[in-house]
Every structure is written in structure tokens, then in C-alpha cells.
Amino acid sequence: MEQPPHIKVSGALEGEFIITEERSANEFVITRDTSWEAMLGKGERAATAEEVAALEAEHGPFQPADGEG
């Protein structure tokens, strides 16, 4: 799936946005980027499966998936 163009905005609005519509050469519709990547903080990355497994081994098991989602 093609990803929408991503932009950084500063001024009256701040943050990461994506362009959801290009109405003309000078007019765009943007919406705040709430994707997982945009949520990650500086210096932060997704934990690996091994890191999560180590956490579980140390602190006890997570509850299993219940088939709901």
C-alpha cells in the first residue's frame, strides 16, 4: 500500500503530519500522523521478540490471546 506523503510542521501547529489530499498545487489537506512510527519517542525502537520473552521469563507469563483481537 502506498504511504501518504509525510511532513514535519512547525508554527501554529507542531509535529508530524501526513498529506491526505492535494487539492491543487498550493492547497493541501493534512492530518496528524498517529502511526506507530510517529508515536515512537526519540531514541526509542520497538522491543525485539527476545527482549519481550526475557521480560516474560523474569516477571511471569502474559495472559494468552483470547481470540477477540
Partner: protein, 146 residues
Amino acid sequence: MQSVRAGAEALRDARNQFERDGVEIKTLRRCDPEGRDGTELPACFKVYLPAPNGKFGMVFRFVRDADGIALRYLALGVRHHPRNSHAQIVYEVAHRRLPGWPARQFGSLGNLVPKLVPDSTELSTDLDGGRTAGVSHLLTQVSLLS
């Protein structure tokens, strides 16, 4: 509207609880990597709100930073479609936020970002950028982004 208000209330309650007590690992439930509704939530975890089996769900993923492993909030919402509603359920919202999907705005509840840090006696709570110390066990760092 009532649902939105109830959701906002659940969010506030959850945030307060995470600030006060944190999230114990044993209360986290794995999400289905491939759900029956077509959502795919690999490496995701959830809690139901209000606990233990409320109508709302909060989905997280583990992250790693210089301070260690933490939990980052991915989505909050209703677990099941309300009758006669096409509102997105929490699993659909989380699914669309994962890589490969365009980002979507999540209603008016804001982005709650709890972080769980295991096995520490000096954990902090971060709300709107401020930091306070002193939560006792497995706990949550929370910030509410605008």
C-alpha cells in the same frame, strides 16, 4: 456522545491507575497476531477497561530506549461495534497504526502514552512532559500528547 464521554472517563481512570499503581505484566493479555476480524496485531498486548472485562480496550507495544523496556500505547477504544454503529473498534484502530497503514487520527481522546518499566523501585511518571519519581513496582510512565 455518551460512548465518547464514557471512553474519555475510562481513559482518565486508566491513566490515573497507571500513574498510581502501574501496569503489572501479568495483567497484560497478548493480542491475536491474526484476529478473526481480519486485524493483525503482532507483538501487541492489551488490557480491558474498566478491568477486568470492561467494554473498552487499550492496546500496547513494548519499546526499548536507553532506560530499558517500556510499554507504549497504540490505541484505545471500544472492543466491539456498538449496535447500529460502524465506529472502528480498538483492534482496527491499532491495526491501522502499525507499519504499512496510513496514519489515522484517533477521535478526540488524545494519545495516551504509558510506559511500563519492570522491576524498578524508582520509576517515574511523565505527564505532559513533567516528571515525578517514586512509584514502587512495575509501573507506568504516562504522557498525554496534544
